[in-house]
């Protein structure tokens, strides 16, 4: 992991003092709520339905065991005993008192953490693959560049008041597990012909009410220019992005309005003027940061461990878990383990208690190298586990309810907090999530369905990334009543696509049966081992529509709605 030096430490400590003063001025009335708002947002503090919510940054989803214990302490001492991991690899605490925030930030700063720029109209936490540095299919480790970007964007004075929030993701694997194409800037890192590090820069992606996948604006950018090029993109956006309408203020609208080529040209013109400057990254700086991500000292292990093999043969439950919840590691004899935070009815997706966090921290130290990751799917990852330890680890994870063997399956739902917490929500996404998880609790059925992502958002802001779920569910308000619209065909990764609406929206209680009809259609139409998304791509939406809306009234209603679109 990257270790803070005196500069990093001084910055986060100073920031705590600054915010302590701002909170005091807010409480005394010196600062109006309007003036305080962007200040608290830039420190991760939202006002939700019932209380303040504090979002803490987990830079590119990486945590040490000690840092996870700090999060556990915040959950137990300052909140109601749990935290919620988000799709952007952060964690949020839902029941926070304003007066206590400076103390929480102090606790974070003392452990090289912060909540800076986890919200507000600025550059947010840089995200990447949960398996960075260890994935079998990785080209190279994207974390050094992610950390360099984190530093560059932190309190960058020119870009603290952008038209709207700005999200950057970087990936360097064959599959892209960072949803790169849904970001304002998406970076694909790879090696050129002579081994040099290059980047493809994608710009103008984002979900929300106008979902757009980003497009390539620069191919083969040498890594030394990652900061100058990002600066050029942000300067163009800061100057020309719309500020008159919140819903048209993301960079995707600017890119769309100009056209991606014209936008790229504008950026290129700006970049030409700054690329040969002191902002060009140095080899020395890259090496300084990369040293923090040097691989740990792995043991030389055989590819196959006899004891592990024996357990696999003996315990089918264990086998099921290994099949779904572990990932190939680039070092022989090791695996990465995914801790499913989706047990079903007992906890909402992404919610983890302080006790669970403490145990996970202990397990990371006992079986791994003391490191934990957070994934885009809101799960936790132990990146470096010897295969021979998988069995005892599985036993322990089972005890703390983090071993549901459903990673990548229907019940591994990505869900936003929805109306139970969020002030912007139209609907409560969590009860629907739970109803689906309860309806499809049969693990054999789930495994038979195979790879299938289901994402749900409580409103058009799309925090649950419903557009890029194979099945997406969006909560909408119709005359004060909650309805849920279903899309299919969305996907993240290298073959990203946006889902399409299949028809009229459902009442909450109708959703599980509608999903069931959708799944039955898939089972009837699929060929061999074809995953859900491929069946959708092959046969299109109509066969699914027919099955989900079987009655004539439904069909008529559907026609009406289509005509009115």
């Amino acid at each position: 992991m990257y270790r803070y030096d005196e500069y990093d430490r001084a910055l986060v400590q100073a920031r705590v003092e600054q915010f302590r003063d701002q909170v005091a001025r807010r409480l005394s009335g010196d600062l109006s709520e309007e003036e305080f708002l962007p200040l608290r947002l830039q420190n991760g503090l939202y006002l939700q339905k019932h209380a303040y919510m504090l979002r803490v940054a987990n830079p590119y989803g990486t945590l040490s065991a000690d840092q996870l214990r700090v999060l556990a302490k915040i959950a137990t001492d300052f909140d109601r005993g749990y935290g919620h991991f988000t799709t952007r690899q952060n964690i949020q605490f839902n029941w926070i008192e304003l007066e206590q925030v400076p103390d929480i930030l102090q606790l974070l700063a003392d452990h090289d953490m912060h909540a800076i720029q986890t919200s507000g109209n600025c550059v947010r936490n840089i995200t990447t693959e949960a398996f960075a540095g260890v994935a079998g299919d990785e080209v190279m480790d994207p974390r050094p560049l992610a950390e360099i970007l984190r530093q560059w964007s932190t309190v960058n004075p020119e870009f603290l008041f952008l038209p709207r929030k700005f999200k950057i993701a970087i990936s360097s694997s064959a599959s892209d597990r960072a949803a790169v194409r849904a970001h304002d800037i998406g970076l694909y890192l790879y090696r050129g012909g002579s081994g040099e590090m290059l980047l493809d820069v994608m710009a103008g992606g984002g979900l929300g009410r106008t979902p757009i996948l980003n497009e390539r604006v620069k191919q083969g950018l040498p890594w030394q220019h990652i900061l100058t090029y990002t600066e050029a993109v942000l300067r163009v956006y800061n100057r020309y992005g719309r500020r008159d309408n919140k819903y048209k203020a993301r960079i995707k609208i600017l890119v769309k309005a100009l056209g991606v080529d014209a936008f790229a040209k504008e950026v290129e013109r700006e970049w030409e003027l700054i690329k040969d400057s002191d902002a060009e990254l140095t080899e020395k700086e890259y090496q300084r940061v990369a040293a923090g991500f040097a691989p740990p000292v792995y043991e030389r292990l055989d590819l196959i461990d006899p004891e592990y093999g024996a357990w696999l043969a003996r315990d089918p439950q264990f086998g099921l878990w290994v099949q779904r919840n572990t990932q190939p590691h680039k070092v022989a004899g090791y695996a990465s383990v995914i801790l499913s935070t989706k047990p079903g009815a007992s906890a909402p997706p992404g919610d983890v208690t302080g006790e669970q966090m403490n145990t996970v921290a202990d397990l990371a130290e006992r079986y791994g190298f003391g490191e934990i990751r957070v994934s885009h799917e809101q799960n936790l990852v132990l990146p470096d586990i010897r295969k021979q330890d998988l069995y005892p680890l599985w036993k322990k994870l089972t005890e703390i309810n983090l071993a549901k063997p459903n990673v990548g399956l229907l019940t591994d739902v990505i869900a936003c907090p929805g109306g139970d917490y969020c002030a912007l929500a139209n609907t409560r996404s969590l009860p629907v999530t739970r109803a689906i998880q309860e309806r499809f609790d049969n693990i054999d059925f789930l495994h038979d369905l195979g790879d299938l992502t289901l994402n749900i958002s409580g409103c058009v802001n799309a925090c649950g990334h419903h557009h890029i779920g194979n099945i997406g569910i969006l909560g909408v308000d119709k005359k004060g009543e909650e309805f849920f619209q279903i899309t299919i065909g969305g996907a993240q990764g290298k073959n990203s696509s946006l889902g399409k609406v299949i028809g009229r929206a459902f009442r909450a209680e109708e959703v599980p049966e509608a999903i069931n009809r959708l799944l039955q259609a898939y089972l009837d139409y699929r060929e061999a081992e074809e995953p859900f998304i491929e069946t959708v791509n092959r046969i299109g939406l109509d066969p699914f529509k027919e099955r989900v809306y079987p009655t004539p009234t439904d069909a008529a209603q559907l026609k009406l709605e289509e005509a009115s679109v």
Binding site: D5, Y7, A10, L11, A14, E17, Q18, Q22, E35, P38, L39, N121, I148, Q151, W152, S153, T154, V155, N156, P157, E158, F159, L160, F161, L162, L227, E231, R235, N238, R239, R243, L273, S277, D278, A279, L281, T282, E285, R288
Partner: protein, 165 residues
Amino acid sequence: MKNIITTVNGVSGVVHDDPWSMPGEDESDNRDFQIVSLERLLALAESGERLQGQYGVMLHPDDDPDILLPWLASLRLIALQFPRFSDGRAYSQAYLLRARYGFEGELRAVGDVLRDQLAAMRHCGFSSFAIREDRSAEEALKGLEVFDLIYARSVSTPQPLFRRR
């Protein structure tokens, strides 16, 4: 103008006798220390006239600062606007005027200018601040006394931190 903070050679203080007037306040042609609108500057140039003495200009946040290139050497002051403190366009304008076009006169932040944004403004090259009138400039001065390390390069620190580490 009232409620002004200036920074000279790194030292900031409240100015009680600031001589400048805003566009539209007093536009007699022979008056020193006027800030004129860009429209007026362009109109005067069109008619072949020149403002005498010390003068400044105010840009709209939409304006491309390179429009001022012909006047940069003779302008004493450029005012950049913050219609709302959350509108950050003037940060980029300031950066360009200083770092790219080499403007050396006074760069003044006007509009919704508040204590908690001053440090970022200073980094981007602002050297004076017209604090919003309902706020005390003395109080706002504290906004420039904060510890404000940044990583990226800026007008205040042309070398990014990684070159100095």
